[in-house]
């Protein structure tokens, strides 16, 4: 079967800044951090740490009470992002007359699924001493709730999959969706990811790994400092981001606006350690993606790094990029936008895929914020420390490297 080109015709997002992808991208170009202190009234020890939330997102207003009431927040974030991407692609929620959506599908990434729903149930059982919990607990909590709701609401009769691969969840979801469209199996795929990691137990679990950045009211905004000599960890956040992938010829035939082209994807596993990343696994993912896309290192003008600001993660990624890009590495524009929007776990790959697409489309590269002293172990790359505009970008990569050793890289190209 001949391979088809794959257009990105729809983008949607629940953003910490309150509006959609265009506003989100403009805020990043402006270097605006969305990180704030998250404070809760949880007992015995309230949460009080740098975090990213989407305070303007009201699920009942956005989705309506009946629909929002059957969803955990991770699915609400997913549904809202999916509706926006769908509208952006010019599709109606119900199939149009003669439009057969039986092969259109969903591939959705989530690292955590409905942990807030599970945690609510645990509190009922163990804190309040109740003997039973809401009958919706299972359907709120299950990891495939988001893609199931999306399939139902958008009348998509093809595959409906959830991908749970920690921080690479939505990059892998996008990659698997891309393959289905490229092969001709599905003419349209709705893809992306969402997570809401603010459950008390989830945050405490991440803290126990000693990979979370600390901070206070005055330092929270700059708490996440990827590639910085003094970086001290990641900042978690909630979010949802969605993309519509579409057979290129179909998109052109219906006059759709094409944001960009997805041209390559690969996923590898370090197969060595649960949390310590390996250069070789990342190198294999980068090279396999370039090969899949029919690109060489000289074709790539920008890399949106995984760059979470952990000590080991950033230096490993920098080393992998140096190895793959060789002499070109020092001229390779690289930025880690998590410095501003935080780490949305299963949504991160989709958020950063959108950033990469918009960088190509608009010829503008958002910076790694707060990077005034590059760690020597992360040097040898062209770190973008302030927004660059009017850049004639041709192709770009987005990296996602997960606990568990899974690596995923996506390749995008400007429309031509």
């Amino acid at each position: 079967m001949s391979q088809r080109r794959v257009a990105v015709t729809g983008l949607g997002m629940v953003s910490p800044y309150g509006a959609g992808p265009a506003d989100f991208f403009a805020r990043l170009l402006a270097g605006e951090s969305a990180v704030r202190m998250l404070r809760t009234d949880d007992a015995p020890r309230p949460l009080n740490l740098p975090f990213v939330t989407c305070p303007a997102f009201d699920p009942e207003t956005t989705l309506g009470r009946p629909l929002a009431g059957t969803m955990d927040r991770f699915a609400q974030l997913a549904m809202a992002a999916a509706f926006d991407a769908w509208a952006d692609a010019g599709f109606e929620r119900a199939a149009a007359d003669g439009e057969d959506r039986d092969t259109w599908g969903v591939a959705w990434g989530t690292a955590l699924g409905g942990t807030l729903a599970y945690e609510k149930g645990y509190r009922e059982l163990w804190q309040k001493g109740r003997e039973r919990i809401s009958p919706l607990s299972v359907v709120l909590g299950m990891n495939n709730a988001a893609n199931a709701h999306i399939s139902i609401q958008l009348a998509l009769g093809g595959v409906s999959m959830s991908h749970t691969v920690a921080c690479a969840s939505s990059a892998i979801a996008i990659g698997e969706a891309f393959r289905r469209v490229r092969s001709g199996e599905a003419p349209v795929m709705l893809t992306g990811g969402s997570d809401a990691p603010q459950a008390y137990g989830v945050v405490r679990a991440w803290e126990a790994l000693r990979v979370m950045a600390g901070g206070d009211e005055t330092t929270a905004a700059s708490a996440c400092r990827p590639f910085h000599a003094d970086r001290n960890g990641l900042v978690l956040g909630e979010g949802g981001a969605a993309l519509v992938l579409e057979d290129w010829e179909r998109a052109v035939a219906r006059g759709a606006r094409i944001h960009g082209e997805i041209v390559g994807y690969a996923s590898t596993c370090d197969h060595s350690h649960l949390v310590r990343p390996e250069i070789t696994g990342q190198v294999r993912a980068l090279r396999a993606t370039l090969a899949d896309a029919g690109l060489t290192p000289t074709d790539i003008d920008y890399v949106n790094a995984h760059g979470t600001a952990t000590v080991e993660g950033d230096s490993t990624e920098a080393a992998a990029l140096r190895e793959v890009f060789g002499e070109r590495a020092s001229n390779l524009a690289v930025s880690a936008t998590k410095s501003m929007h935080g780490h949305q776990l299963g949504a991160a790959g989709a958020i950063e895929a959108i950033i990469t697409l918009l960088a190509l489309r608009d010829g503008a590269i958002p910076p790694t914020a707060h990077l005034d002293a590059v760690d020597p172990a992360c040097a040898g790359l062209d770190h973008v420390t302030a927004a660059r505009r009017d850049q004639p970008l041709r192709a770009a990569l987005s990296n996602s490297f997960a606990f568990g050793g899974s690596n995923a890289v996506l390749a995008f190209r400007t429309v031509r």
């Binding site: 309506g64 009470r65 009946p66 059957t70 039973r132 809401s134 009958p135 919706l136």
Partner: protein, 80 residues
């Protein structure tokens, strides 16, 4: 609060159904109550009135059947 009032409150909170639509002859399905929401509604009843619904319960189809069932169970509970 009687059973009908509780059904009205629940359907208003969860589905935005106007209280005047919640009349005995109204079909639950027509008001948007699917099988999942029926479970929620029964859970709410058990909680609020301290009753236990049998697992073999015949699922009510109308508001009237639902409220009559709840009223009967509450009477049985207060008589026991």
């Amino acid at each position: 609060m009687d059973s009908l009032d509780l059904i009205r409150e629940f359907l208003h909170d969860r589905l935005g159904v106007a209280p005047e639509q919640v009349v005995p002859e109204a079909a639950l399905a027509a008001l948007g109550v699917d099988s999942l929401m029926m479970l929620e509604l029964m859970f709410e009843f058990e909680d609020r009135f301290g009753i236990t619904l049998s697992k073999n319960l015949k699922t009510p189809k109308t508001i009237g059947e639902m409220s009559a069932l709840m009223d009967r169970l509450r009477r049985e509970k207060s008589a026991s």
